[in-house]
């Protein structure tokens, strides 16, 4: 396809009917395009805004600028190969995506996961949550005008990326979780690195809070902005910190524990007012809770294997290949053809840093998934954005977008 063949929407007013108010069609209010290249849309979100002066009358999100066809592409890969695709969906929480897809596979084939692997999964998922919240805080603060927070957050984030690199060899796209456990056990350097981080990071959260939490400018820009009542949040399908900022106590880690989250003691921070500020507070508290979970997981890390022993689905360790003919056969079968799960459909959900991340997996008994679908939080939250942005100033829209923590890769897949 050449550039000239690709056409964009050329702006026929008739097509806007129903999306914007009648006043826009007569030219009384202004229709303004924001994005897809805009520094505070966190990627490639396009918003169609109808403005009366500086007030937003209506806001129509246009998504799909990052539609990658991941779900379709996964159908062309074997189950285990497809894990690499999930990393690239919500690129701020790759391990969270790996986790939900692996859990779906494990539920489909009824595969056991050793406790050690479950704990390491929880540990890394929580570190990923911290990683994601750091990028959220950095960009959210930057949007509202606090540049230094951005630099601090990215400094701390490098430490986390180092930890991910220790375990998986990659900074961001780790593909470390595999069906039945983990790719390999964590290396020796892992524990000291995490302990270092645990000692280092709490002071840094205090620093961020000193900069923002009671900063009058920050309060002015966030309090009472982007209000979402608890009922509306539920009605619009919100989840994660966006829902909890409105005071609804719903955290999948508590409500439907997965991957041994029920072994850990942590609190679910809640907001009261449902505005941008409360969502900020919820996420800041979540940072501390995540650290708390990481500490527990590290202290109580059980020994033992990190991958299931079910040879039909999990390749044998390298050391066995020299001794057992059976192991060689399993190895060969798994790496040339992949495994064949039974026919069936499953739906699994986890609490990603942004909210409820669900994975629907359908199998027809072949080595490739028949259909994979992800229910992603950003997509749902974007549909709640018009509701939150209504009647606000256009300058506040930037803060509201930041407060629902959108990642367009998560939305469009």
């Amino acid at each position: 396809m050449t550039v000239s063949e690709i056409t964009t929407w050329q702006g026929d007013v008739e097509q806007l009917k129903g999306l914007v108010s009648e006043r826009a069609l007569s030219g009384e209010t202004m229709v303004l395009n924001m994005g897809p290249q805009h520094p505070s849309t966190h990627g490639v979100l396009r918003l169609l805004l109808e403005l009366d002066g500086e007030n937003i009358i209506s806001c129509v999100p246009d998504v799909g600028f990052l539609h990658t066809g991941i779900e379709k592409n996964m159908e062309a890969k074997r189950y285990e190969q497809a894990i690499t695709m999930t990393d690239r969906m919500d690129y701020l929480s790759p391990m969270g995506n790996n986790l939900v897809y692996c859990l779906a596979m494990e539920k489909l084939i009824d595969l056991d996961v050793p406790l050690r692997a479950q704990y390491i999964r929880v540990l890394l998922a929580e570190l990923t949550r911290i990683n994601s919240h750091l990028v959220w805080l950095a960009t959210h603060a930057l949007d509202i005008g606090a540049m230094s927070v951005f630099l601090y957050c990215f400094r701390e984030r490098e430490k986390l990326l180092d930890i991910f690199e220790i375990v998986s060899g990659q900074r961001m796209m780790s593909t470390y979780f595999r069906p039945g456990g983990l790719w390999r056990d964590v290396p020796e350097e892992f524990e000291p690195a995490v302990r270092d981080f645990l000692d280092y990071f709490p002071g840094k959260i205090d620093d961020y809070e000193n900069l923002l939490t009671s900063n009058p400018l920050w309060l002015d820009r966030t309090q009472g902005i982007g209000f979402l009542s608890a009922d509306d949040a539920i009605r619009l399908g919100c989840s994660g910190p966006t829902l909890r900022g409105s005071g609804v106590n719903w955290d999948i880690r508590k409500a439907i524990p997965y991957s041994s989250y029920d072994h850990f003691d942590f609190e679910v921070p809640l907001g009261q007012h449902g505005d941008v500020y409360d969502r900020y507070i919820v996420r800041m508290k979540e940072l501390r809770q995540s650290l708390h979970i990481v500490r527990q997981a590290l202290d109580n890390l059980p020994g033992g294997p990190v991958r299931s022993n079910n040879r039909k689905y999990v390749p044998p360790p390298r050391s066995e290949l020299g001794q057992s003919m059976e192991a060689v056969i399993h190895h060969f079968k798994l790496w040339t053809e992949g495994f064949r799960p039974p026919e069936g459909e499953v739906y699994v959900r986890v609490e990603s840093p942004r909210g409820e991340l669900g994975c629907f997996l359908a199998s027809d008994g072949s080595p490739k998934p028949w259909r994979v679908h992800f229910r992603t939080p950003t997509f749902v939250h974007l549909s709640a954005l018009p509701h939150m942005a209504k009647d606000h100033l256009i300058a506040d829209l930037v803060g509201i977008i930041g407060s629902i923590d959108i990642v367009l890769g998560d939305c469009d897949r």
Binding site: M1, T2, V3, I6, T7, T8, P36, Q37, H38, P39, G43, V44, G64, F65, L66, H67, T68, G69, I70, K72, N73, T84, M85, R88, Y91, L92, V135, A138, F150, L151, Y152, F154, R155, R157, E158, L161, R171, M172, M173, L408, G409, D412
Partner: protein
């Protein structure tokens, strides 16, 4: 006096105009603030504290294409985004350069499917490709230095 004493009272420095212009182009190259996908996060890391792209004259990321010299295509370019990207490129004043960051922008990466443009060089001319998924910030910086080396070789009449 500052500069004079530093130069050791040399008085006059002669240099080819071409070299002087190319040198100044490499020392203050403003990239466009424009992220598409995962690679953009690594681009932000390269901008931030630990890697600090401003060491290479790039502390200013310009959100407006009209003020930028370098387009870093950081991430996968979808069919829906392609016309927008081309329009942004057309809006940049010359001289301008394009750096394709990551496997997706360079060749489609792992997404060989209906949605992704298989390499951004289908729609804009690319000067430097940086491999990796995502490339580390060091790799991006290496790509930028490679581009600088290239710019230093350019002839003035390349852009007229």
């Amino acid at each position: 006096m500052g500069l004079t004493s530093k130069l050791g009272g040399m008085g006059v420095v002669t240099v080819k105009l071409e070299d002087a212009i190319n040198w100044s182009r490499t020392r203050a190259m403003w990239p466009m603030l424009f992220g598409l996908a995962c690679c953009a996060i690594e681009m932000m890391s390269a901008q931030a504290s630990n890697y600090d792209l401003s060491r290479f004259g790039m502390e200013l990321m310009r959100p407006s294409p009209r003020q930028s010299d370098l387009m870093i295509v950081a991430g996968r370019v979808t069919r829906k985004m392609a016309p927008v990207l081309r329009q942004l490129y057309d809006q940049m004043p010359e001289p301008k350069w394009v750096l394709s960051m990551g496997d997706c922008a360079s060749c489609g990466g792992i997404f060989n499917n209906y949605a992704i443009v298989q390499g951004v060089d289908e729609i804009v001319p690319v000067d430097v490709y940086v491999a990796g998924c995502p490339p580390r910030p060091e790799q991006l910086i290496h790509g930028i230095i490679t581009l600088h080396e290239r710019v230093k070789q350019e002839r003035l009449d390349d852009w007229v």
